[in-house]
Symmetry: C2
């Protein structure tokens, strides 16, 4: 495999010529939009989902150049290698194996065994999956209980970042669907922030005698998580409960939390699963299996695996994640657009944008290439979003009529999750929701002329649409994997390491310095001064 910076590729020059020679100006999305284009520009994603890119600013010539970029940067080959255990996280000297946790046979997505040290890693992941599935069934059936006369009715995850945002978004996404399907649920809550108001508010609202806490920290050393664990343990003790009967750990086998008598059980992940890629591992699997049952989690994994297999396809017109990644790079590097909004028209996906914000910005917010050399081009964009139609009444004003163009990623479903709807003025709410979604795409792309400047819509604003029948465990898994794979492909294009996060270290070091201050000073006058403003020094 060859690793080249984007601006050293032949495709880059070609794409830059297209952008400068009128790729932007000559190709007018508003003029290109036809019903035929909408119908033609769809790629199956996985699990019944489809990716439609009709309203993104690309024509055949641009797409041909993007396909050449894909070939030149060997995107699919790199994905294959990554999945088979090549050390792709160079700074940390680690394999990148989140695809393997959703493999049904414990083999890579290409069908190979993955060995680390003397261990079959896929078998290890399958073993943990089986262990926590069994554990969850025992908790749900009352075999494992906090006291002879009690069963667990609630679970609460203590974790932050990757141990929080993904699992939280997934649980929220399945709650209403599971209710409609009659799936018995344990109440599921989360504590993450080191702000004690978080742990205090959540824990005081839980039925402590019936609550199982899930402590998630791969390293077993995350400040926020360990502090919140002690916070909760104190609460349990004050309530006359034994913390060891109310806690399980998800961690690495080498962490201080492993094989620790302070927990009912421990489930393991390893260094090959990055935090933000861990929703399908035990970090997300334990709480999903406890909350909804192991069968639901299995469907989630199946959806993700289906999307992973679809991402092996070399033809960009048959690979939704690859195509999405390439068009995103066209918008970012050749049209110069710095942000992307994720806009799910589904209340269940209310925190999905916050998870993607982490996934994308922590993975690709890098200024050096994989060898550590500064790059001369832009990498990961700012990602933000809220569910529609809420966003329409909020920040869409800027999206339609602001001075910057923000590419949009819409997600929509034909059916509701709860199947509890009302007809008003001849249509139900789900139809209104989707009429709004369709209307927005057209409004952004085509705009509207008006004699009044304030009422004019410039149009030519890019969006894509991921659509499917209904948001359930299966489609959710595919949706998540689509974005993980899109982010991975973009990292390959930019020649960066999408799997480390060195940018979180400096703040940690300086915070520790302040916390170790003596006699009102940590030795750094600027830190002292800010700590003084905040009343801690």
């Amino acid at each position: 495999m060859k690793f080249n910076d984007l601006d050293k590729t032949a495709a880059y020059k070609n794409l830059m010529n297209l952008a400068h020679a009128g790729g932007t100006a000559a190709f007018r999305l508003s003029a290109a939009m036809t019903a035929e284009r909408v119908e033609k520009c769809t790629v199956p994603l996985a699990a019944g989902l489809n990716f439609n890119w009709a309203a993104r600013p690309v024509n055949d010539e641009i797409l041909k150049a993007l396909a050449a970029l894909s070939d030149e940067q060997e995107l699919v080959s790199k994905y294959r290698s990554l999945s088979e255990g090549e050390i792709m996280n160079l700074t940390e000297n680690r394999m990148v194996l989140h695809h393997l946790v959703r493999s049904p046979d414990g083999k890579s997505v290409t069908g190979k065994q993955v060995i680390g040290g003397d261990r079959d890693i896929g078998a290890f992941y399958l073993g943990e999956l089986k262990r926590f599935k069994t554990f969850a069934e025992k908790v749900r059936s009352g075999v494992i209980k906090p006291a002879p006369d009690k069963t667990f009715t609630a679970v609460c995850q203590i974790g932050i970042g990757g141990s929080d945002l993904g699992p939280r978004a997934m649980v929220l996404a399945l709650r209403n669907w599971a209710k409609a399907e009659g799936i018995r649920q344990l109440r599921a809550e989360f504590i993450s922030n080191v702000d004690p108001d978080d742990a205090s508010a959540v824990s005081s609202d839980l039925p402590l005698p019936e609550t199982l806490f899930i402590l998630v920290s791969k390293s077993g050393t995350t400040l926020e998580t360990l502090t919140n664990e002690l916070f909760v343990k104190n609460k349990l003790k004050k309530a006359g409960l034994d913390p060891a009967k109310h806690m399980v750990a998800v961690t690495s086998e080498t962490s201080p939390l492993a094989k620790n008598s302070g927990y009912l059980d421990s489930f393991y992940i390893d260094d090959f699963i990055g935090g933000r890629y861990s929703s399908a591992s035990a970090a997300g699997g334990v709480i999903m299996s406890l909350a909804f049952g192991g069968d639901v989690f299995a469907k989630f994994l199946a959806g993700a695996n289906e999307a992973d297999r679809a991402a092996l396809e070399k033809d960009i017109f048959k690979n939704a994640a690859l195509l999405d990644a390439l068009i995103g790079v066209w918008e970012r590097n050749f049209l110069g657009l710095p942000c992307t909004a994720v806009l799910p028209y589904s209340q269940g996906l209310s925190r999905f944008p916050a998870h993607l914000q982490q996934l994308d910005m922590e993975s690709n917010g890098k200024r050096v290439n994989r060898e550590g050399r500064p790059l001369a081009y832009c990498t990961g964009p700012v990602v933000f979003g809220e569910p529609g139609t809420n966003g329409q009444h909020s920040f869409y004003q800027l999206l339609h009529q602001g001075t910057d163009v923000i590419p949009l990623q819409f997600v929509g479903f034909a059916e509701t999750q709860l199947r509890d709807d009302i007809e008003v003025e001849g249509s139900d709410s789900q139809t209104k929701l989707n009429a709004n979604l369709a209307a927005q795409i057209a409004a952004f792309a085509m705009g509207k002329k008006d004699n009044s400047g304030a009422k004019e819509f410039p149009g030519n604003r890019s969006s894509s649409l991921i659509y499917g029948k209904r948001l359930d465990a299966y489609s959710l898994g595919a949706l998540l994997a689509h974005f993980e794979n899109k982010v991975m492909f973009q990292g390959f294009i930019w020649n960066i390491n999408s799997f480390d996060q060195e940018g979180v270290q400096l703040g940690k070091v300086l915070a520790k310095k302040i916390l170790q201050a003596k006699d009102g000073s940590c030795g750094d006058p600027v830190l002292d001064a800010y700590a003084g403003l905040l009343g801690i020094l």
Copy 2:
């Protein structure tokens, strides 16, 4: 008053020269950061809050030029005129009077009576405030009740956009503080999205016989809100309850909802209160007064009014909102930075960034000046954010080491809201929280050299800090008003109308077109095609 586009001002040329002649390159924030600078660069905001701008990329020369811009664009004069009733919302031919709803004497912030038609508008707002305060006290004391044997224990607001995001963020911000202060609370929930999964999930989790719904729609015609009202009315009827005994309306006197026997009572706002500026009006006041009592809401208004008065000061070093606005424009238009992140280190402010996202992006996401002519410079930035320390484990990677610089607005408090903390390793969680906050500001500004590219932090990344003792109703009011006034000043600088939202119209029109389709077509093939993908045509 003179209304000039920013690029037609003398100050613009001067600032552009400073930026090009080395304002960016010559002024290195990392080199300028000293304890003295941190201590010097603080302006009192209001209600005990302070605004510290030490870590923003400005020196004396730049600030002098920004002060000249403030004078040339007559920012404070325009604010005075606005508050006194000048028609500042030209496209809608409306006054802009949200400052007046928090005036304790019903006069403008400059002390003048504001007349609209033949009415004293301040007296009208004060009258409504008194009416809903009395109503709320009657509900809280059980004088107004849903049935002889029941009292109201929960309230639920049905609204969207300005009727949702601001009030929701404020209620969340006060919940924990009120609990710690022993203030009796009615449970407060919100329904906004037209996705029926929102109304169904929220309403099925509420104790309907004891719930008072607050329908908020200024026009009384908002599709989402009216649909969700009917959804809830159906639920009430199915539960054998009379909707008219479970609902109040917040609307304009001329709307279909006014003086309507379907509600226990109606409280009025008018066209001079924009949705996103309505948190301090009845749109936020009714639910805050019901949830926490009228005295809490009065403190919130007092904090906002104090910030409004502070914003009258012409000296930019004594006016936090003005200074924040000017430095923001320096970053946006002269350093070319397209985004701003809002990062509150307080769990209570978890949805405050979502409100600011609306406030800022809907107000200043405009591409034409106040007369409707296209602008040649950038206006409002993309705004996003999540509470720290959660964000640190998510998107901060990009903020520290991404290829784009994102100016940051931090908010922090010395004390917790709940006063329920734990000491671990020699410090409590609140101290850890604030140590992280102080550390982040220093890390962003000063960076860190490293031989390994991946471990290097470029620094010179802008942030400001709003800090105070504790987040309570009083400081929250000031915090909200600060950002409202900052956005207003920036709108004046850019010479745009920050008070209309024409960009929301086109989507509404096209959605309606789809909903009125006959025989499977609405007459627009592109809309038909997208509606087809989503299963509604």
